[in-house]
Symmetry: C2
Subunit: 149 residues, 2 copies
DNA sequence: TTACTTGCAAACGTTTTGCACGATT
DNA sequence: AATCGTGCAAAACGTTTGCAAGTAA
């Protein structure tokens, strides 16, 4: 388990929620996954680990974790129902189109862009939301191998 | 109706699809909406205009329009099932959080960012996808009025 | 005329809800 | 002990599919 897990348990307590087995399990699964997971995938993984939780609990847990900004949704081309662990200070995502791996990168570069757009449009720009989609190094290696004779 | 509509009908013909009343209606509704619309909203608007189309047709029409890149999906915090007209050369969106109005802006500024991330991560970055969320001038005016005594 | 398109009804998968039981604090 | 959390079953919801009838080319 990543070292983020401890702060999660604290945050759950702080918010007045109880730390149950089901929540530990969902948190552990998400925080150790290199890619975004759907509720159904989390449920299946938890069951395969021997946990006896229900799919409904996964939904309700994700709802609370999202509310506490401990997890966030990833928006793919085809839908937006997969979750990843939220990482403080790394707001932007880099997704691999092949293996669906998720990486983070810092977004300081966007502040000036947001200001420019704000000035140009008259909008008060409050949030910027950026995702890059591409192919990760591992998958690039595989693809180039396949292309060879 | 916006002047984009003509090119739409051409593109539909080019792709071998037929230009039907239902498609004209869906196109007209989307191209004249200042905000993203869900299939259900498009259906209701069409019915309120006296058209006799079914919700299924709206789904199937959107599917084809998206395939032809005549419309695109907008991803909100809560879901990603609303559609807007696609505008050539304006890849990025600026959403009003209050009235859900959609504006476009050019994204040349992001090419260098994508290159930097690509170099740093080893990813082959193929797409960048940016949305800004804020409050539009009109809604800002309303908000500030409400705040006054 | 022929193939594409439509509408309805029904199927489907996902997400939510009601309620009694169980677990955490 | 009191409250919060859980699981099951069933309902609700959005979306897709099969098929007969209708329509554009």
């Amino acid at each position: 388990m990543k070292d983020t897990s401890n702060s999660w348990t604290q945050k759950i307590n702080t918010n007045g929620y109880r730390l149950t087995g089901a929540r530990r399990m969902v948190i552990d699964i998400i925080s150790n996954s290199p890619r975004a997971l759907t509720p159904a995938e989390i449920f299946i993984e938890a069951r395969s680990r021997g946990a006896k939780l229900g799919l409904v609990t996964v939904y309700r847990t994700l709802e609370k974790l999202e509310e506490m900004t401990l997890v966030e949704r990833v928006h793919h081309e085809d839908g937006c129902h997969a979750y990843i662990a939220h990482v403080e200070g790394h707001q932007h995502l880099l997704l691999c189109r092949v293996c669906h791996r998720v990486e983070y990168f810092g977004g300081d570069d966007l502040v000036s862009l947001a200001e420019t757009i704000s000035r140009r449009s008259g909008y008060e720009v409050q949030e910027h939301w950026l995702q890059l989609v591409g192919i990760c190094p591992d998958c690039r290696a595989l693809v180039s191998k396949e292309a060879l004779p």
